[in-house]
């Protein structure tokens, strides 16, 4: 009998197997896609709900399998039932134990059909050679990714030396609002000349060596599906860049089809989040009125499709001074500046 009651309390037997006395509150327990419900099944349960000092959290609790702490959440008491809204939504594939009065119920949420694994669909910079003082990469996925420990899924390998570069990243997660684009900083303290980490640890990248940025297949999307296949971005490192971008050296051309192409003087830092740049590159009329024509920017240049009228009205390309190259040198100032 003792074993039977223990099984009842642990939820391993269903309500009907526990034979509670009619004086004990009994509930019909069920789960929906986003909440759990305990509905009074006898007069004792209805009296319990109607009691003036009744605390629904004391009456109705939901546990994940193996847990002794119930789910956090909020309760709403109705005339004959308690609705429990968990703090985080129920997870497909998980089992839950619902406990109310003398009633217990095990509920399993079927696993979802496997969703397509996430993929890297974009990245910056789009060049094969980066400067030794290169600062950051952007990775764009086709679906929101799990956050919180991305560093366990990212590696930088020096192929020339045949070993992983440890401590390569600035471990602060920077995501765009959609959770699909990650900005990945190489540690600026190591990449910036003369900073104590640079002196103590050395730079992350060395000119003349080959590297691979690796995204491990273990990383999951928020759907729970992992990449499966690792993703690699090989690149070579050139000399450090301490020169500022020089717009006066950019090459501009308009094709017969009114396609404006801009070739930068050096690779510049644009994110996949804002290829359609309006804040840093835009067109104006000769009288200073902003044109709605969008510019599509990538690492090495930008393009815009002009309408024939605009092409004939001598538009002016405006360039924000905070545009940076891959080493953080902006048009307005170099990344590393001596004390004034």
């Amino acid at each position: 009998m003792l074993l039977r009651w223990l099984l009842c309390l642990s939820g391993l037997l269903f309500v009907q197997g526990c034979s509670p006395s009619p004086q004990e509150p009994q509930f019909d327990l069920r789960a929906t896609a986003d909440h759990f419900e305990a509905r009074a099944a006898n007069p004792a349960a209805r009296r319990l709900l109607a009691a003036p000092n009744s605390n629904p959290a004391d009456t109705f609790q939901v546990f994940i399998q193996g847990a002794t702490t119930p789910l956090f959440g909020t309760y709403a008491t109705r005339a004959d039932s308690i609705i429990f809204q968990p703090a985080a939504p129920p997870v497909p594939g998980m089992s839950y134990r619902l406990q109310a009065g003398s009633s217990s119920h095990q509920h399993h949420i079927p696993a979802q059909q496997a969703t397509a694994p996430p993929r890297v669909i974009g990245w910056m910079p789009r060049v094969s050679i980066v400067p030794a003082n290169h600062l950051k990469f952007y990775l764009q996925f086709d679906q929101p990714m799990t956050q919180g420990d991305v560093w366990s899924h990212l590696q930088l390998h020096c192929e020339t030396d045949g070993q992983q570069v440890l401590g390569a990243f600035r471990e602060v997660e920077l995501w765009d609002p959609t959770g699909t684009i990650l900005t990945l900083w190489l540690h600026p303290g190591r990449q910036k000349t003369g900073v104590n980490l640079n002196q103590d640890e050395g730079p992350v990248l060395h000119a003349g060596k080959r590297y691979t940025l690796r995204v491990l297949g273990t990383w999951t999307a928020t759907s729970g599906t992992a990449l499966g296949q690792p993703w690699h971005l090989p690149f070579t490192v050139g000399p450090a860049d301490h020169q500022q971008p020089a717009p006066e050296k950019w090459k501009l051309n308009i094709s017969a089809e009114n396609q404006l192409t801009i070739q930068f003087d050096e690779p510049l830092d644009f994110s996949p989040a804002t290829p359609n740049t309006t804040e840093r590159l835009w067109l104006e009329t000769p009288t200073g009125q902003r044109l709605p024509t969008p510019l599509q920017a990538t690492t090495t240049g930008a393009t815009a499709q002009l309408d024939p009228t605009t092409a004939k009205t001598a538009p002016v390309l405006k360039v924000s001074p905070d545009i940076e190259d891959l080493a953080g040198n902006s048009i307005s100032r170099p990344f590393e500046r001596q004390m004034e």
């Binding site: 997870v91 919180g148 997660e173 003369g194 104590n196 501009l252 404006l260």
Partner: protein
């Protein structure tokens, strides 16, 4: 431009010009006023319906006003919790808090990320922001004096959300710290497209749907003797001295610097004064101050990249006599700023490692005598009260 480009420009009438002036919008701030009760800290508050997208940083204002850095929306969310005391501190250590919170969120400890922790100074109640894998579901959890954890029920609480300038266009994607400072709330942020130091000022009362002023900060970097215009502030506290309002910030390469906020003119940058260098290879996690022994102390809680020094963990803290912050003379600041003696547990005078904070994953001040620590143990994270020296 090349000759060919000149031809093109002439032919098609396009000229490339660099727009003059940086695109910063700065406004003069008023001096700090008296602390504001939570009941008057929100303007046009909303009630109910608050769903936090994320909670990267937590802190408290007076009267139970909880400030949440919602990095996903580049916003600060202020919540009147109604948690106004009386002050009752955690009665005993709570073991395996990570497992307890994970189970409460419907997962296991290995699938939980603790984002931040703050102690309500009015009640002693502990607030922890946590996220679940893989779906990034985020909640704020409270732990009371009995060690009982529960979700912060937002159902009926007044709240206001203020999105930082440029935030919806993803310029600022992580708010590294947020703090109440009398007549304003301050926030520090990192941008995903720009390695830059930004300080935001939100006027109090905090108006739902309102905006913030933005400052761009530069600091003299003690270690490499250059003006550091780019490094983001990792953690900060508001600070007042002789009627001047400051932000005291810690940076990834661990200088401590103060930024004067009075008398700022639109278009200007905030130039910080470096007053202390704590040593290389550390990442600041939290700052707080307390009074003891007739002195005011600044505690810097830090993660060391390398093997531990002078203690059992690479999570460590030092306290600094805040008299160092009063120094303004060139012989004691910037290139001449005081450097912590990294070979010793203490030194120079007024700078020392705090033994009781070794292993702290999160720490926040409880009182001038004690702090609440979320500490690494062999059996997971434990929540406990730690004495301050």
């Amino acid at each position: 431009m090349t000759a060919n480009t000149r031809v093109s420009l002439k032919l098609f009438g396009i000229a490339a010009t660099a727009a003059a002036g940086a695109a910063f919008f700065l406004y003069t701030l008023k001096a700090n006023g008296a602390p504001v009760a939570a009941s008057s800290a929100l303007k046009n508050p909303q009630t109910g319906g608050l769903k936090l997208q994320s909670a990267s940083s937590l802190s408290f204002g007076p009267g139970g006003l909880l400030l949440v850095a919602e990095s996903g929306s580049a916003s600060v969310v202020a919540i009147e919790t109604g948690d106004i005391g009386p002050l009752v501190k955690l009665k005993q250590r709570v073991d395996n808090v990570s497992g307890l919170i994970a189970n409460g969120l419907g997962t296991t400890a290995e699938n939980l990320t603790i984002n931040d922790m703050a102690v309500n100074p009015d009640s002693g109640r502990i607030y922890i922001s946590a996220s679940r894998k893989p779906d990034n579901a985020t909640s704020v959890i409270t732990v009371d004096a009995e060690g009982k954890a529960r979700q912060l029920d937002l159902t009926n609480l007044p709240w206001a959300r203020i999105t930082l300038p440029g935030g919806t266009n993803s310029k600022v994607t992580r708010i590294t710290d947020v703090a109440f400072a009398g007549d304003r709330v301050l926030a520090a942020g990192s941008c995903n497209e720009e390695f830059a130091s930004k300080i935001f000022s939100l006027p109090v009362p905090l108006e739902h749907g309102g905006t913030a002023s933005i400052y761009s900060a530069e600091t003299y970097h003690v270690a490499h003797r250059k003006w550091e215009t780019k490094a983001p502030i990792s953690s900060f506290i508001p600070y007042e001295e002789n009627g001047q309002s400051y932000v005291v910030g810690a940076f990834a390469c661990t200088p401590i610097a103060k930024f004067p906020l009075n008398d700022l003119k639109p278009g200007s940058q905030v130039k910080g004064v470096s007053v202390m260098e704590l040593g290389s290879g550390n990442r600041p996690l939290d700052l707080f101050s307390y009074n003891k022994g007739g002195k005011r102390w600044l505690v810097t809680h830090t993660q060391r990249f390398h093997k531990p020094l002078f203690g059992p963990s690479n999570l460590w803290a030092a306290r600094v006599d805040m008299a160092y912050l009063s120094k303004s003379e060139p012989t004691a600041t910037n290139e001449n700023a005081t450097r912590r003696d990294t070979k010793q547990k203490a030194g120079p005078d007024g700078v020392e490692i705090v033994d009781s904070l070794f292993g702290a994953v999160q720490v926040d001040k409880l009182s001038d005598e004690e702090a609440i620590v979320l500490r690494e143990t062999a059996a997971g994270l434990a929540l406990e009260v730690a004495a301050l020296p």
